[in-house]
Symmetry: C2
Subunit: 756 residues, 2 copies
């Protein structure tokens, strides 16, 4: 069982003592607890720590090292450790960071010293909540008895109602004279500690903590095996999954090693959702705010601020990030995940095509798409993908499409290549100097590279249409096929496909005589759906993946990074042209689709905060160090960057960058075991040679994945390893949008070590 | 634009002054603000309130009344109002309730007075967070300057980072002598107020508040029309939806009138999700805790505590709540909403049937179900429902089933009737004394009432099977068809259907020769799926709706109330017999289904808290007053209740109860405009006479809905109205699990008034 982070050892009970305020008795309680532990657990170690190191990362790693040594990898005798904080929960630590934030990666069990004075009920509950919303477990609240305010009585009732079994322990305060420091006082305090540490309250508390520590460890140790009995895992052959392979997550997996002793580096960006680091407290507070303000809003015929603001942010972001010049997307439909968002998109597009072309409701409509597509796991979304290991055994799967095998882009032996499949007539490779050149449509279209693509698309479409097939939408993932194998598609081909579809007003319904309104935002040919669930919202370095193609979709779908890895939410954006299709005096002509939690305020508020943070990173130049590595390499690039007036398409086509360095991509591309590699945005995709065939069932990448996972890196007291995912012969690594250069560098070194 | 609750008027800027602690200067700041407002806004009203009324509800309504009078329905001159609280944010109000909780229904804009003393950074941030997680907008933080601690400087940086534009306003503190009360002091304080209220800081603050109040009102007033331009609403014909009909939700809709001045009573339980009241702070804190502890967990091959604990809670709850004696459900698969949960269930069941019966992967498998079924909006879920207004215009819809029109139960003219459709051969009605008698299977099966049902089911099944059709699952909503028209199905029929399907080992595949393992939990005939998304988890008064039938499903689906109206989450439970089907050495035999946010910790933690609260309500007898009305009415019932040893089925069949009184059901059932009525759990379903035909497109219930919505009830200063939803000719009302008797009574009176 691999376990992630936190100050948890079977043989060492570690508590961090937080105060509801300053001057509430933290030191007194800590001292009494130490004394009581020494007396009651004579054969055990009892330790105390009040750490002061200026840098946050050093502070955490020194605490971790100190305790790891005390625990002796679990071989030392049992023991107790108390770590005292300074001031209140949010009082600044040595570096100025709030302590509740600073210590969060350790997620130590907490004893909260409450405030017995007037006002202390409020500060104690507030402190309790500040800790809770950072994921701490408060194991007990301790405070002095006070006959006047009786805060302990109130807190006992209040907290018991809400947090079953949480002890509120009160002891008499030292008399004022006792705490003043003279010799007589010292003797008096000695007596006070003697009595307090022998009191039933303190002894009972230690017994409780001992029990709950054992229970916590036992539960964590059985989590994998209990889960193995109860859980049906997604995308997992459970016969091949023994409990020892299951990762029991006790707390956040961290993906910023800097503040993460003994951590797991989340190399799959938590199934591609992660943008702002796990358990980002701004996202937590956004979720809590919306929960407290709204709870649930029944969204049919209602509106709330986060839903509207998010719709506005997305529409504006798509416009700024779009390269097409037209601004098609103007409507937002909410659903719960990529699958439901794709199904919504599909319903929108098919209806638009069917009504414009006058087809009967029971017409068999297909979609046009790409081979290797993946749009989700509900039946309608599955039917949009070509047959593959994902769907071929699913009973109701019935692929309803025409899928083009796309030319793909990869770096091999230091060269970027576009691989053109045989069916294009002129199979072969196009070479490019750089990834940026692959996206330089002006140059490539100038050389006529798109003509082969357009001719092929037109031929194939005509062939199928001539056979009487009907199509209702073009659906694809712009730039990268994700679950279909982390394939970088030649963007010029995707442009060609869209362009052919859009200019062919009469291709899809020869008898059609109408015209779109001609304002430039109406769909033509077929509605174009971009599934940006994985590729959008900065995963590839830009707000929208469509900007890489210099095209606007008629419908596009956005999820995953939308909520920065917190809660499910999906948005399907559509143009007015699509929207108008459903407008009628008959209510059954409406899009009769919806989920109970449609546009749930928690998700919308979190998404707003997530987008705000990423947009700020973009505008503040946070990614400039990465970008310089990719675009600042040559004089030519420098000159190009100044050429800002040359139009959207051109500018957009230039800024291809990744957090992964071009040097590492180059190095990887020259390994004998590597068939090819590419990097864009936070994604690095390594295609390994696979003698037994590539694809989902290949196991070629498993060895590398296991090596990254098994090896501990970093100093021995502060180890970390990399958790990554494979897709057949492909191992990919994905950072979050906050991943720093030093982390990337370490992982790159690690890759080089394993692939040398 | 109907607007819900909160102290918001265009002409009155109202602020509640909270303190980070006691003795931080709330009164001084409030006084200075009042003085400044009087001076700067000479023609306006400036008011001050420090409310003290013992009962929470009285306190809220007196504040509301006072301010509503001051605002004069928006006709009075503009003004300012400052409401001072006592102590810190969580200090107990007059009744003992924490003030932050107590005043939440008013959701007044907040000015937070921070603490300038040592430790004050911590108490100020904690107080800010306690307010935020209750959905308050903190408009500014005010505190005294202090050269030693400089808390204002720290807070300015800290808060600006996280909350754009939030002003942190500091002013000099009064000198210690000024605050002491002698005559000289009074003069000195007068001078202090004079200076402070003229200071740039305070003047600037008022200007800022004036601007943000105007902006807030303007935004709220444009929310509906802006939304109308940007949002694509679910289940809504937008051509028929003008902005004036859109409800702009500024804050929680409340469904407990007791603490809700000027509120909207949420009569649809927020699309059937609501169980614990909107914005329940225990759910908020649960969400925040999981967010802070985990963020996202990539769930494939991983496990975390809330996912396991929720799985255990559900499995145990189903066992305790199940009436069948066997305990089939033992596995939990997580997804995002009812639709995805149903699709998962379907994939599970079809695979189980296909592999056992040896059918080819491309066999056309149908499901057996009920007419009027509704299982969600993704294509696979839609295909499980018979053709209806919901799906008949959807391009990829292709009903894949055999649907039985079920006998239904309704109360009319004071009598409970089971309506048996003509195709059963002996069409007609069975009468029952009470709803409880309808569920008394021992008695009814003793009278042989099930024989007609079983014979019909067998005949129809054989007919279709003889034609070569193949079926892979029986799927239905136990007891109530929700979206299909809020129909109470005769539970005896559902039992008969399941029993025929289960005992017919060879019916569905005549050539089948194998046997189930015979341990009593294996599926036989066809896997039985119960879609409890709407009917389960106490909506009908019990943990599981299957207990009403005295049957266990092989697969069951749970959502909506699961998370108490906070975030999307769905669970699909399955038996080991179903689970084993997917076990293989080939990873592509696994259930290759999953969503990015599968088992997201926030949802699981919230669900745990939601279930815990509802289970506590059940075990503590919270619903006893309602239950007494239904089962304690006659001597006969009393005698029956003591007969506890008569077996599970029998006991379960007796406890039919509703929050809606049997007297009101009886009264409604005798109205000429009412075709029938039923109530169970928190649901009241009124079927109105509809000359133009019933069904989704009927408008018969719209008039009653509009009447409930348009009328203001309660005192004029404290009005409320009822927001309800219709399904064709059916108007339903749905309480939450916390709705009190006095609220139900008021709504019942209202119904009587409108239907007299």
């Amino acid at each position: 069982m691999a376990r992630s982070a936190s100050l948890l050892w079977r043989n060492l009970r570690v508590y961090q003592i937080y105060g509801a305020n300053t001057d509430v008795g933290k030191t007194i309680f800590t001292t009494a607890l130490c004394k009581a532990a020494r007396r009651l657990y004579r054969d055990e170690l009892t330790g105390y720590l009040k750490p002061t190191v200026p840098r946050d990362a050093d502070l955490l790693s020194s605490i971790y090292s100190h305790l790891a040594k005390a625990a002796g990898s679990g071989t030392s005798p049992d023991g107790w450790f108390f770590i005292e904080t300074a001031g209140g929960v949010h009082s600044p630590g040595p570096s100025g960071t709030s302590q509740a934030e600073l210590y969060r990666p350790l997620r130590c069990s907490v004893l909260l010293v409450g405030d017995a004075k007037l006002g202390g009920i409020s500060t104690t509950i507030s402190a309790f909540e500040a800790l809770t919303l950072r994921g701490y477990d408060v194991e007990a609240v301790l405070l002095f008895e006070d006959d006047r305010y009786r805060n302990a009585d109130y807190l006992r009732t209040y907290l018991a109602d809400r947090h079953r079994g949480l002890p509120v322990v009160s002891v008499p305060a030292p008399s004022p004279s006792e705490a003043h420091g003279s010799e007589e006082d010292a003797e008096s305090m000695r007596r006070y500690y003697e009595e307090t540490s022998r009191s039933d309250a303190v002894r009972g508390l230690l017994g409780h903590l001992d029990g709950s520590h054992s229970a916590r460890v036992a539960r964590l140790e059985s989590l994998a095996s209990e889960g193995h009995q109860r859980i049906w895992w997604p995308f997992t052959q459970q016969k091949l999954l023994s409990p020892d392979k299951i990762i029991a997550i006790d707390t956040i997996i961290i993906n910023s090693k800097g503040v993460a002793p003994a951590g797991v580096l989340d190399g799959s960006a938590s199934w591609w959702t992660q943008g702002l680091g796990h358990a980002n407290s701004s996202l937590t507070l956004a979720a809590a705010y919306a929960s407290g303000r709204y709870g649930h809003v029944m969204f049919a015929e209602a509106i709330h601020e986060p839903a509207l603001a998010l719709a506005e942010t997305l529409i504006q972001g798509m416009r700024r990030g779009g390269g097409g010049g037209t601004h098609r997307l103007s409507r937002v439909f909410y659903s719960d995940d990529g699958s439901t968002g794709v199904e919504t998109a599909l319903k929108m597009a098919l209806r638009a095509a069917r009504t414009r072309y006058g087809w009967a409701v029971d017409s068999k409509l297909g979609i046009v798409g790409l081979e290797g597509a993946y749009h989700g796991d509900t039946i309608g979304a599955m039917d949009c993908a070509d047959p593959s290991a994902y769907n071929e055994k699913v009973e109701w799967y019935e692929g309803k499409g025409l899928w083009f095998r796309p030319p793909s882009v990869i770096c091999r032996e230091g060269k970027w290549r576009v691989n053109i499949p045989a069916e294009f007539g002129e199979a072969g490779e196009i070479y490019a100097e750089s990834l940026t050149d692959v996206f330089d449509f002006r140059a490539r279209e100038g050389r006529g590279e798109h003509l082969l693509y357009e001719a092929h698309v037109e031929t194939v479409l005509r062939h199928h249409l001539d056979k009487g097939r009907k199509f209702g939408a073009l659906m694809m993932e712009p730039v990268v096929l994700g679950a279909g194998g982390m394939v970088l598609v030649d963007p010029l081909f995707q442009r060609a496909l869209v362009n052919v579809v859009r200019r062919s007003q009469h291709l899809f319904s020869p008898e059609f005589v109408g015209q779109p309104s001609g304002n430039g935002t109406d769909w033509t040919g077929l509605p174009v759906i971009f599934d940006e669930v994985f590729t959008g919202l900065y995963r590839l370095g830009r707000f929208t993946a469509s900007s890489f193609l210099g095209l606007d979709a008629d419908v596009s779908v956005h999820a995953k990074l939308l909520t920065g890895g917190l809660v499910p939410l999906c948005t399907t954006l559509a143009s007015e042209s699509i929207f108008r299709t459903f407008s009628s005096d008959d209510k059954t002509d409406a899009l009769l689709h919806g989920h109970s939690y449609t546009a749930h305020p928690v998700g919308c508020q979190v998404a707003l905060e997530s987008l705000r943070q990423m947009q700020n990173m973009e505008s503040s130049g946070r990614w400039a160090p990465f970008q310089r590595g990719w675009v600042g390499g040559t004089d030519d690039d420098g000159a190009r960057q100044q050429d800002g007036a040359a139009g959207n398409n051109n500018r957009a086509s230039r800024s291809c960058w990744s957090i992964w360095s071009p040097q590492t991509v180059d190095w990887l591309s020259r390994r004998p075991s590597v068939a090819g590699v590419w990097a864009l945005g936070s994604v690095l995709s390594i295609h390994l040679e696979s003698p037994g065939g590539a694809g989902y069932t290949s196991t070629a990448a498993v060895a590398l994945r296991d090596a990254l996972r098994a090896t501990n890196h970093g100093p021995s007291q502060n180890p970390w390893n990399v958790h990554s995912r494979v897709l057949g012969n492909v191992l990919y690594l994905m950072g979050s949008q906050t991943t720093g250069q030093e982390v990337v560098l370490e992982i790159e070194q690690l890759l080089r070590r394993h692939l040398s």
